[in-house]
Symmetry: C2
Subunit: 301 residues, 2 copies
């Protein structure tokens, strides 16, 4: 497997003028890898990737690799509504040696057919035209509304078995993840939350790609590393409680950013781009108090 | 009013290699203006605008204006999920002298607050920084899922009365259009379908912006021009029947493209970009037969 373990859709820090803060971004990426992440799924939903222009995403990717982050550990999001943009950013990621790309389907038009999404992904693969391309399909119907059906995943994998190699399932529906794991055992399937980590690993999953890992790689990575050992269910329960606590407190992206601001003492972390709105320090303190009870420790940046 | 009457979200023709066919696009725009359209809302949902990159849209806009289409009659769609992209394409349209822009809200993240969308539009206006900018809000919740609430429209118009001057309501919900017309009589409000044209005009609306005008400007423009005259309800009923016939036959964008291919004898018109899928000539012939019964005549390109 080219990716395994805990992959992190890294938060994208912004300066006060709302431009991306590349230096702070590289520091977080480095810390997350040092804490045991298996890879960096930068430019995901949690990264506010769709609030970044294609140029900004490509520029940040170059900074990361230039700063010494191994390209093979990077799985940048390169999906877009427009096929030429997806071809451009995907080709750029491949040219930099990225281990894979995480591909949203085109998400503007709703009610599109599997044939239309198939044509998009097929056109992308032909447009990039590189045997180095590894596509991980990004299925997140609660946000994108448009998704990859189990049948469509099989069609794409069957047509491009060496290229369409994996999938992130952020449906939040374990029965969908289980169906994918059963149907395509040679694909690298990642649930989109650590809540399903142990279930996924027991069914042949590759790990998980999860927002909360921005602040909790050590515990999730330990659960991954020891999933066959005694006490695995208890460790899973512990990371599930933390996830549910974060999720239940406020919208996750601004909340985790406010939390990083609180714990690092750098208020700049709290900045989000519209249409997201920031949460207050008081909410971050509320989360901190809840997490303390659960034995959580901030791993630092 | 800077725009009034029938505005057309012009279909975007593609070559066999899926690149936009700028020459054919300019010809259709010219024909639609000659047939009596009040303006061209290019790069709308019907135009497959979100299947075009920002560069492609800007390039096509330059071709249109270079070919002699009056910039003042153009209301290009410049919405995007990423604020920098929306600022770039909106600033470009303003620099070319476009009469307005039609602004989708950022549509990736769902369940965002009015405050977040307000910050996006406000940031756009500040980012463009031109007193020549005229923003028409594009409300199309069936597709974008994210929309402009009646309250948010008032906040934006109140904060920027000379800039946020109008709205296209593609909610398909007449009660929403009626509420907007009643609340903001000094805004230019356009329903997103000719089905609501007469109702909107009687309530102070500015006209309509409608997909079907790609093939039916003459009848809709005549209904607009004579809405205070005897027989207005009959003329409205006739254009409504045509709209409902098109809408009930197949997905409208590929259907109208296939219909243009059939009626012009140029099969290239039928090409769509993924994720849309083309419809067959047989379906276009089926539409043609239905329309003939309704007394419809293709106005040509």
């Amino acid at each position: 497997m080219s990716f395994q373990g805990v992959l992190v859709p890294v938060l994208t820090p912004f300066k006060a003028n709302l431009k991306p803060d590349a230096e702070k971004f590289a520091a977080l990426c480095r810390a997350i890898l040092d804490q045991g992440a298996g890879g960096l799924a930068v430019f995901g939903t949690t990264s506010e990737a769709n609030s970044l222009s294609a140029e900004e995403r490509m520029g940040l990717l170059e900074v990361l690799i230039g700063s010494g982050i191994p390209a093979a550990r990077l799985m940048p999001g390169t999906g877009a509504c427009a096929l030429p943009e997806a071809i451009r950013t995907t080709g750029h990621a491949v040219s930099l040696g990225c281990g894979g790309v995480l591909l949203l389907p085109p998400f503007y038009y709703k009610g599109v057919s599997d044939d239309g999404i198939y044509a998009f992904v097929d056109g992308l693969i032909q447009g990039v035209g590189s045997s180095d391309l590894r596509v991980y399909l990004y299925h997140i119907p609660p946000v994108a509304q448009v998704g990859y059906s189990v049948d469509l995943v099989g069609r794409l994998h069957g047509a491009h078995p060496g290229t369409v190699v994996g999938l992130k399932d952020s449906s939040g529906d374990w029965s969908n993840t289980a169906a994918l794991l059963a149907a395509y055992p040679d694909m690298e399937i990642f649930p989109g939350s650590e809540v399903f980590l142990l279930d996924a690993l027991r069914a042949g999953g590759a790990g998980c790609i999860t927002a909360t890992a921005n602040m909790n790689v050590p515990m999730i990575a330990a659960s991954y590393a020891t999933w066959r050992d005694d006490g695995a269910d208890d460790r899973q329960a512990a990371i599930t409680r933390i996830r549910e606590t974060v999720q239940g407190t406020a919208p996750m992206v601004p909340l985790m950013k406010a939390y990083l601001a609180l714990k690092t003492g750098d208020p700049g972390w709290a900045t989000v781009r519209p249409p997201m709105v920031p949460v207050t320090e008081a909410v971050a303190r509320e989360l901190d108090a809840k997490l303390a009870v659960l034995g959580y420790q901030f791993p630092g940046i």
